[in-house]
């Protein structure tokens, strides 16, 4: 069976700095793939170039569900089912929480009547625990709710693959636990997930497989519990910390 997402040898440099240098991996259907790596190792850049938001890779091949993404623009990639959240919270601050979801739903002929969309939006609010905030402006809700809203708007666009960039950053312990449960629930609903996370125990707990990036290259790949004991990985983290 072909993998859902197939990434082959993608690269991205900023001037002399090689942010992503020849990264290859696959994501299988129904899988949660964790991506770890020290600060500045290229994790967010990987999401940027996969989605071409805001820039495409310098070279390499990416295909989603057997379809090459090379000739597609950022918006076509979104419509093909590759949806991301950003590391820093983003929202449409002067729209309500409900409107944030409605505006993110596909708007093609045949994508539903206004009332069916409204119904689906209400279900999403429920699923993401945002019903109580439905009519509040997105700019006025707290960080945790905005993070959930950002995932909800991605989910509203019917993703095949969700790219989550540090969804638990800045959250309290109970909030992190809820976020983990939410990620598992989305996965059970049939969405495959790539999860970037700084909090290693979280990553180990939810991922089926783990990739560790260092200086824009894959340092290690495998089962989560084995990866965290890998001496190379331990050294990359500790070495990075002592550099500051």
């Amino acid at each position: 069976m072909t993998p859902l997402l197939d990434v082959k040898d993608i690269r991205k440099s900023f001037g002399a700095l090689q942010a992503i240098g020849g990264v290859s991996f696959t994501l299988n259907r129904g899988e949660i793939l964790g991506i770890a790596g020290p600060n500045g190792s290229g994790k967010s850049t990987l999401f940027n170039i996969l989605t071409k938001i805001p820039f495409p890779p310098d070279s390499g091949e990416v295909s989603l569900d057997g379809k090459p993404l090379k000739s597609l623009g950022p918006r076509q990639i979104v419509d093909a089912g590759l949806l991301r959240i950003f590391q820093t919270e983003m929202d449409f601050e002067s729209l309500t929480v409900l409107e944030n979801i409605l505006v993110s739903m596909p708007d093609k002929p045949g994508s539903g009547t206004p009332s069916s969309k409204q119904k689906k939006a209400d279900e999403l609010l429920e699923l993401f625990g945002l019903t109580a905030h439905s009519d509040r402006l997105a700019g006025e809700i707290n960080v945790y709710d905005r993070k959930r809203l950002m995932v909800a708007t991605a989910f509203a666009h019917n993703p095949l693959v969700l790219l989550l960039d540090e969804p638990a950053a800045g959250l309290s312990k109970p909030e992190i636990e809820e976020m983990v449960e939410l990620i598992r629930q989305l996965n059970r609903l049939g969405v495959s997930i790539i999860l970037i996370e700084h909090i290693i125990p979280l990553l180990v707990a939810v991922s089926d497989r783990l990739i560790v990036l260092n200086f824009g290259e894959v340092l290690a790949e495998g089962l989560p519990r084995e990866i965290v004991r890998n001496p190379k990985v331990v050294e990359a983290y500790i070495g990075n910390q002592s550099d500051g």
Binding site: I53, F92, D107
Partner: protein
């Protein structure tokens, strides 16, 4: 009584007063000022689509008005088309102009949009001045045929016909704005203003939305430009001018960008105040400028922010209200 019910009553009362006004008052000066205020309300409300909701600094909006007026004038006067075709002609001309000015700014931001759209206005002005045979050049286009139904001219009864036509345009504009704010289209426009990258990441089409925003917003100045030309029976190069543009901009800022009622309130309040201050001569500009600064100092959201501010006072909270969001992502 909740806010929505209160708003509805206020809206009905506002239009009821405007509807009854000509029946109880036939003073020609008041009639003229009312027509002008209503037309400004249409112009400023529709400018609010690009500038307020869209956060796109389109300084070509008044050119759409002028183009509507000239297109109507030229076609109905020089080419003898029926004046009843005036408004459709004005609308089509303005929408075509909006496409032309939008194409170069499809993906531009901030100051560059101002530059291109203002240059477009100046270009239109130059064309009007050069094509003297068609447009009357410097002197303007005069003797534009008025609207008539049989023996009834829209100028009869102190321009009652034009008054009610303008009022009808304002009602249509308001309904269009209410639809816009609730539609997927309107939400997409606001989404791009709030966060362009995020909007693209949720599958929204930037170029298409921006083009539609320009076209939609141009319908109203096109229509009102046409009626204005038929009302004063002329079109003049001043309509492309900077002072006209800044006047309308003042109304928009005073009233409150990105709100439904702000632009309408701004247009009426500003027109009335300017008229009251006419005895001061040029000094009135100083007074109005001071007024704008004061209003915006205490209500950054403009006049539209005052009810919300009052509501907050009642709830015992302090702080200025309003939504100055449009200035945010264009810094």
């Amino acid at each position: 009584m909740n806010v929505t019910a209160f708003n509805r009553i206020l809206t009905v009362a506002f239009f009821a007063v405007l509807f009854i006004l000509p029946l109880v008052n036939s003073d020609s000066y008041i009639r003229h000022i009312s027509i002008i205020a209503i037309m400004y309300a249409v112009l400023v409300s529709s400018w609010n689509v690009t500038l307020g909701y869209g956060g796109v600094f389109n300084f070509g909006h008044m050119a759409f008005f002028a183009i509507g007026a000239y297109a109507t004038g030229v076609m109905t006067k020089t080419f003898d088309v029926s004046p009843w075709w005036g408004m459709p002609i004005g609308v089509v001309a303005a929408v075509i102009a909006s496409v032309i000015v939008c194409l170069p700014v499809l993906r531009l931001k901030g100051i560059y949009v101002i530059l291109v759209t203002f240059a477009f206005t100046q270009l239109c002005l130059q064309i009007v001045l050069n094509q003297r045979d068609l447009t009357g050049g410097n002197f303007g286009l005069v003797s534009i045929p008025p609207l008539e139904i049989g023996a009834f001219s829209f100028r009869d009864f102190q321009n009652a016909g034009y008054y009610y036509l303008a009022l009808l345009l304002l009602v249509v504009t308001l309904l269009a704005m209410l639809w816009f704010r609730r539609s997927h289209f309107g939400r997409s426009v606001i989404a791009f203003r709030d966060n362009e990258t995020y909007a693209i990441s949720r599958g929204l089409p930037l170029a298409k939305v921006r083009l539609m925003t320009f076209m939609f917003s141009a319908v109203f100045p096109g229509a009102v430009g046409s009626v204005y030309a038929q009302y004063v029976r002329s079109a003049s190069p001043d309509m492309f001018g900077f002072s006209f543009l800044t006047l309308a901009l003042s109304m928009l800022l005073l009233g409150g960008v990105g709100t439904i009622w702000g632009p309408i309130a701004g247009a009426f309040v500003f027109t009335i105040i300017s008229e009251l201050l006419t005895p001061l001569g040029p000094g009135r500009y100083l007074v109005t400028a001071t007024l704008i600064v004061l209003v915006l100092r205490f209500f950054p959201g403009g006049l539209a922010g005052i009810p919300e501010f009052a509501g907050q006072l009642l709830k015992g909270r302090s702080g200025a209200a309003g939504d100055p969001a449009m200035l945010k992502d264009e810094k």
